[in-house]
Protein backbone atom coordinates (compact mmCIF):
# COMPACT_ATOMS: atom_id res chain seq x y z
CA UNK A 1 0.00 0.00 0.00
CA UNK A 2 3.02 2.25 -0.12
CA UNK A 3 2.00 3.08 -3.66
CA UNK A 4 -1.12 4.73 -2.28
CA UNK A 5 0.46 7.84 -0.91
CA UNK A 6 3.02 8.03 -3.68
CA UNK A 7 0.34 7.83 -6.33
CA UNK A 8 -1.30 10.86 -4.81
CA UNK A 9 1.75 13.07 -5.38
CA UNK A 10 1.55 13.34 -9.17
CA UNK A 11 -2.14 14.17 -8.85
CA UNK A 12 -1.36 17.00 -6.49
CA UNK A 13 1.46 18.28 -8.66
CA UNK A 14 -1.09 18.51 -11.46
CA UNK A 15 -3.49 20.22 -9.10
CA UNK A 16 -0.82 22.72 -8.14
CA UNK A 17 0.00 23.40 -11.73
CA UNK A 18 -3.62 23.84 -12.64
CA UNK A 19 -4.41 26.26 -9.85
CA UNK A 20 -0.98 27.69 -9.38
CA UNK A 21 0.12 29.51 -6.29
CA UNK A 22 -0.65 33.21 -6.41
CA UNK A 23 -1.27 32.79 -10.12
CA UNK A 24 2.17 31.41 -10.91
CA UNK A 25 2.89 27.93 -12.09
CA UNK A 26 6.47 27.48 -10.93
CA UNK A 27 7.12 24.82 -8.35
CA UNK A 28 7.96 26.13 -4.94
CA UNK A 29 10.76 24.71 -2.86
CA UNK A 30 9.45 21.54 -1.23
CA UNK A 31 9.27 21.27 2.53
CA UNK A 32 12.01 18.67 2.53
CA UNK A 33 14.22 21.03 0.55
CA UNK A 34 13.50 23.78 3.08
CA UNK A 35 14.27 21.47 5.98
CA UNK A 36 17.55 20.44 4.38
CA UNK A 37 18.51 24.02 3.58
CA UNK A 38 17.84 25.27 7.09
CA UNK A 39 19.63 22.30 8.62
CA UNK A 40 22.66 23.14 6.54
CA UNK A 41 22.45 26.83 7.38
CA UNK A 42 22.07 26.06 11.06
CA UNK A 43 18.98 28.24 11.24
CA UNK A 44 17.88 28.99 14.78
CA UNK A 45 14.37 30.08 15.61
CA UNK A 46 13.08 31.36 18.90
CA UNK A 47 9.45 32.34 18.67
CA UNK A 48 6.94 29.86 19.90
CA UNK A 49 3.71 29.78 17.92
CA UNK A 50 0.56 28.22 19.32
CA UNK A 51 -1.14 26.24 16.56
CA UNK A 52 -4.78 25.69 17.45
CA UNK A 53 -7.35 23.55 15.75
CA UNK A 54 -10.93 23.82 14.57
CA UNK A 55 -13.09 21.06 13.19
CA UNK A 56 -16.43 21.35 11.43
CA UNK A 57 -18.80 19.22 9.46
CA UNK A 58 -21.06 20.48 6.74
CA UNK A 59 -24.82 20.22 7.10
CA UNK A 60 -26.05 16.72 6.59
CA UNK A 61 -22.71 15.14 7.38
CA UNK A 62 -23.38 12.70 10.25
CA UNK A 63 -19.83 12.49 11.53
CA UNK A 64 -18.50 13.67 14.82
CA UNK A 65 -15.27 15.45 13.95
CA UNK A 66 -13.03 17.06 16.56
CA UNK A 67 -9.41 18.06 17.12
CA UNK A 68 -7.72 15.46 19.31
CA UNK A 69 -5.48 17.99 21.06
CA UNK A 70 -6.21 21.55 22.04
CA UNK A 71 -3.05 23.04 20.59
CA UNK A 72 0.52 22.33 19.61
CA UNK A 73 3.17 24.89 20.48
CA UNK A 74 5.87 24.88 17.89
CA UNK A 75 8.78 26.97 16.68
CA UNK A 76 9.07 27.79 12.99
CA UNK A 77 11.27 25.17 11.37
CA UNK A 78 10.12 22.32 13.60
CA UNK A 79 8.00 19.73 11.89
CA UNK A 80 5.06 18.82 14.11
CA UNK A 81 2.26 16.32 14.36
CA UNK A 82 -1.38 16.87 15.27
CA UNK A 83 -4.50 14.74 15.15
CA UNK A 84 -8.18 15.02 14.48
CA UNK A 85 -10.69 12.34 15.38
CA UNK A 86 -13.67 11.46 13.22
CA UNK A 87 -16.52 9.12 13.97
CA UNK A 88 -19.31 8.00 11.67
CA UNK A 89 -22.39 8.15 13.85
CA UNK A 90 -24.82 6.98 11.24
CA UNK A 91 -25.90 3.47 10.35
CA UNK A 92 -24.51 3.51 6.85
CA UNK A 93 -20.96 3.83 5.49
CA UNK A 94 -20.24 7.44 4.64
CA UNK A 95 -17.57 8.85 2.39
CA UNK A 96 -16.37 12.34 3.16
CA UNK A 97 -13.76 14.75 1.97
CA UNK A 98 -12.26 17.63 3.87
CA UNK A 99 -10.81 20.96 3.10
CA UNK A 100 -8.87 23.26 5.34
CA UNK A 101 -8.19 26.87 6.11
CA UNK A 102 -5.34 28.62 7.89
CA UNK A 103 -5.78 31.90 9.75
CA UNK A 104 -4.63 34.60 10.04
CA UNK A 105 -4.53 34.62 6.27
CA UNK A 106 -1.25 36.46 6.05
CA UNK A 107 0.45 33.64 7.97
CA UNK A 108 -0.99 30.92 5.75
CA UNK A 109 1.81 31.22 3.22
CA UNK A 110 4.27 30.00 5.86
CA UNK A 111 2.17 27.05 6.94
CA UNK A 112 3.22 23.90 5.11
CA UNK A 113 1.33 20.66 5.32
CA UNK A 114 3.80 17.88 4.80
CA UNK A 115 1.15 15.21 4.91
CA UNK A 116 -2.45 15.10 6.02
CA UNK A 117 -5.78 13.41 5.46
CA UNK A 118 -7.39 16.14 3.47
CA UNK A 119 -8.29 16.41 -0.20
CA UNK A 120 -8.85 12.71 -0.63
CA UNK A 121 -12.12 10.92 0.00
CA UNK A 122 -12.23 8.99 3.24
CA UNK A 123 -14.79 6.30 3.93
CA UNK A 124 -15.90 5.37 7.42
CA UNK A 125 -18.05 2.38 8.27
CA UNK A 126 -21.03 2.85 10.57
CA UNK A 127 -19.76 3.52 14.06
CA UNK A 128 -16.14 3.62 12.98
CA UNK A 129 -13.87 6.05 14.74
CA UNK A 130 -10.59 7.02 13.18
CA UNK A 131 -7.64 9.28 13.92
CA UNK A 132 -6.58 11.68 11.23
CA UNK A 133 -3.05 13.01 11.45
CA UNK A 134 -1.65 16.24 10.11
CA UNK A 135 2.11 16.60 9.82
CA UNK A 136 3.06 20.22 9.30
CA UNK A 137 5.90 22.71 9.30
CA UNK A 138 5.98 26.47 9.75
CA UNK A 139 8.60 28.02 7.53
CA UNK A 140 11.47 29.64 9.53
CA UNK A 141 11.14 32.64 7.27
CA UNK A 142 7.99 33.42 9.25
CA UNK A 143 10.22 34.69 12.04
CA UNK A 144 12.03 37.27 9.95
CA UNK A 145 8.95 38.65 8.23
CA UNK A 146 7.97 41.88 10.02
CA UNK A 147 4.36 41.41 8.96
CA UNK A 148 4.25 38.38 11.24
CA UNK A 149 5.49 40.25 14.31
CA UNK A 150 2.04 40.40 15.87
CA UNK A 151 1.16 36.76 15.23
CA UNK A 152 1.53 34.27 18.05
CA UNK A 153 -1.36 31.99 17.14
CA UNK A 154 -2.20 30.15 13.99
CA UNK A 155 -5.50 28.37 13.61
CA UNK A 156 -5.88 25.35 11.38
CA UNK A 157 -9.50 24.58 10.50
CA UNK A 158 -10.81 21.54 8.73
CA UNK A 159 -14.32 20.95 7.45
CA UNK A 160 -15.66 17.59 6.35
CA UNK A 161 -18.23 17.36 3.58
CA UNK A 162 -20.29 14.31 2.74
CA UNK A 163 -19.53 12.86 -0.67
CA UNK A 164 -21.67 9.78 -0.68
CA UNK A 165 -23.51 7.32 1.42
CA UNK A 166 -23.46 3.62 0.74
Amino acid sequence: MVGGSYAAVPLYRRFCQATGYGGTIQRRESVEEKIARHAKDGTVTEREIAVQFNADVADGMPWKFTPTQREVRVKPGESALAFYTAENRSSTPITGVSTYNVTPMKAAVYFNKIQCFCFEEQRLLPGEQIDMPVFFYIDPEFETDPRMDDINNIILSYTFFKVSED
Binding site: M1, V2, G4, S5, Y6, A8, V9, L11, Y12, F15, C16, T19, Y21, V31, E32, I35, A36, A39, D41, G42, T43, V44, E48, T68, Q69, R70, E71, V72, R73, V74, K75, E78, S79, A80, L81, F83, T99, Y100, N101, V102, M105, A108, N112, K113, I114, Q115, C116, F117, C118, F119, E120, E128, I130, D131, M132, P133, F135, Y137, E141, T144
Partner: protein, 101 residues
Protein backbone atom coordinates in the same frame (compact mmCIF):
# COMPACT_ATOMS: atom_id res chain seq x y z
CA UNK B 1 -11.65 13.58 -8.18
CA UNK B 2 -11.18 17.14 -9.12
CA UNK B 3 -11.31 19.99 -6.70
CA UNK B 4 -11.68 23.13 -8.69
CA UNK B 5 -11.06 25.23 -5.63
CA UNK B 6 -14.21 27.22 -6.21
CA UNK B 7 -16.44 25.58 -3.64
CA UNK B 8 -13.67 24.95 -1.18
CA UNK B 9 -12.30 28.11 0.29
CA UNK B 10 -12.35 29.92 -3.02
CA UNK B 11 -13.65 33.03 -1.39
CA UNK B 12 -11.34 32.93 1.58
CA UNK B 13 -8.23 34.31 -0.01
CA UNK B 14 -5.36 31.90 -0.49
CA UNK B 15 -6.38 28.75 -2.30
CA UNK B 16 -5.96 25.49 -0.44
CA UNK B 17 -2.65 23.88 -1.23
CA UNK B 18 -2.49 20.11 -1.24
CA UNK B 19 -0.11 18.44 1.18
CA UNK B 20 3.45 17.99 -0.06
CA UNK B 21 3.69 14.25 0.31
CA UNK B 22 0.10 13.50 -0.48
CA UNK B 23 -2.48 12.04 1.78
CA UNK B 24 -1.99 9.84 4.83
CA UNK B 25 -3.86 6.58 4.38
CA UNK B 26 -6.17 6.17 7.32
CA UNK B 27 -5.15 3.75 10.04
CA UNK B 28 -8.38 1.77 9.91
CA UNK B 29 -6.84 -1.13 11.83
CA UNK B 30 -5.56 1.19 14.57
CA UNK B 31 -2.08 -0.23 14.22
CA UNK B 32 -0.34 2.87 15.49
CA UNK B 33 -2.78 3.78 18.23
CA UNK B 34 -0.27 3.21 21.03
CA UNK B 35 2.31 5.48 19.47
CA UNK B 36 -0.36 8.11 18.89
CA UNK B 37 -1.52 7.90 22.52
CA UNK B 38 2.04 8.20 23.80
CA UNK B 39 2.51 11.32 21.75
CA UNK B 40 -0.76 12.89 22.84
CA UNK B 41 -0.13 12.11 26.50
CA UNK B 42 3.28 13.68 26.20
CA UNK B 43 1.75 16.82 24.76
CA UNK B 44 -0.72 17.03 27.63
CA UNK B 45 1.97 16.74 30.24
CA UNK B 46 4.46 19.11 28.66
CA UNK B 47 2.43 22.21 27.97
CA UNK B 48 1.63 21.05 24.44
CA UNK B 49 5.16 21.80 23.29
CA UNK B 50 5.99 19.93 20.15
CA UNK B 51 9.72 20.01 20.79
CA UNK B 52 9.39 18.13 24.07
CA UNK B 53 7.51 15.30 22.39
CA UNK B 54 9.56 14.91 19.25
CA UNK B 55 10.68 11.39 20.04
CA UNK B 56 7.03 10.31 20.28
CA UNK B 57 5.98 11.91 17.04
CA UNK B 58 9.00 10.28 15.45
CA UNK B 59 7.93 6.90 16.82
CA UNK B 60 4.43 7.42 15.47
CA UNK B 61 5.66 8.19 11.98
CA UNK B 62 8.07 5.28 12.11
CA UNK B 63 5.16 3.04 13.07
CA UNK B 64 3.27 4.27 10.02
CA UNK B 65 6.23 3.52 7.82
CA UNK B 66 6.48 0.01 9.26
CA UNK B 67 2.80 -0.68 8.60
CA UNK B 68 2.91 0.77 5.10
CA UNK B 69 0.80 3.74 6.11
CA UNK B 70 3.49 6.15 5.06
CA UNK B 71 6.22 6.15 2.46
CA UNK B 72 9.52 5.20 4.03
CA UNK B 73 12.23 7.78 4.20
CA UNK B 74 15.01 8.92 6.43
CA UNK B 75 13.56 10.74 9.44
CA UNK B 76 16.18 13.46 9.22
CA UNK B 77 14.60 14.51 5.92
CA UNK B 78 11.39 15.17 7.82
CA UNK B 79 13.10 17.38 10.36
CA UNK B 80 14.04 14.80 12.99
CA UNK B 81 17.67 15.54 13.59
CA UNK B 82 20.06 13.11 15.18
CA UNK B 83 20.15 13.12 18.97
CA UNK B 84 23.57 14.80 19.06
CA UNK B 85 22.34 18.23 18.07
CA UNK B 86 19.65 19.12 20.54
CA UNK B 87 18.88 21.74 23.16
CA UNK B 88 22.36 21.92 24.58
CA UNK B 89 23.69 23.79 21.59
CA UNK B 90 27.29 24.76 21.44
CA UNK B 91 28.11 28.42 21.25
CA UNK B 92 28.95 28.14 17.59
CA UNK B 93 25.44 27.00 16.85
CA UNK B 94 23.94 29.74 18.93
CA UNK B 95 25.76 32.33 16.90
CA UNK B 96 24.86 30.72 13.63
CA UNK B 97 23.48 33.10 11.10
CA UNK B 98 19.78 33.72 10.88
CA UNK B 99 18.11 34.14 7.59
CA UNK B 100 18.45 37.51 6.00
CA UNK B 101 15.41 38.41 4.01
Amino acid sequence: MSLSGGAFGGNRGLRPVPPEKGVFPLDHLHQCDLEKKDYLNCLKSSGHQSEKCRQFSKKYLECRMEKNLMARQDMSELGFRKETETNGETSEEKNSKRIEV
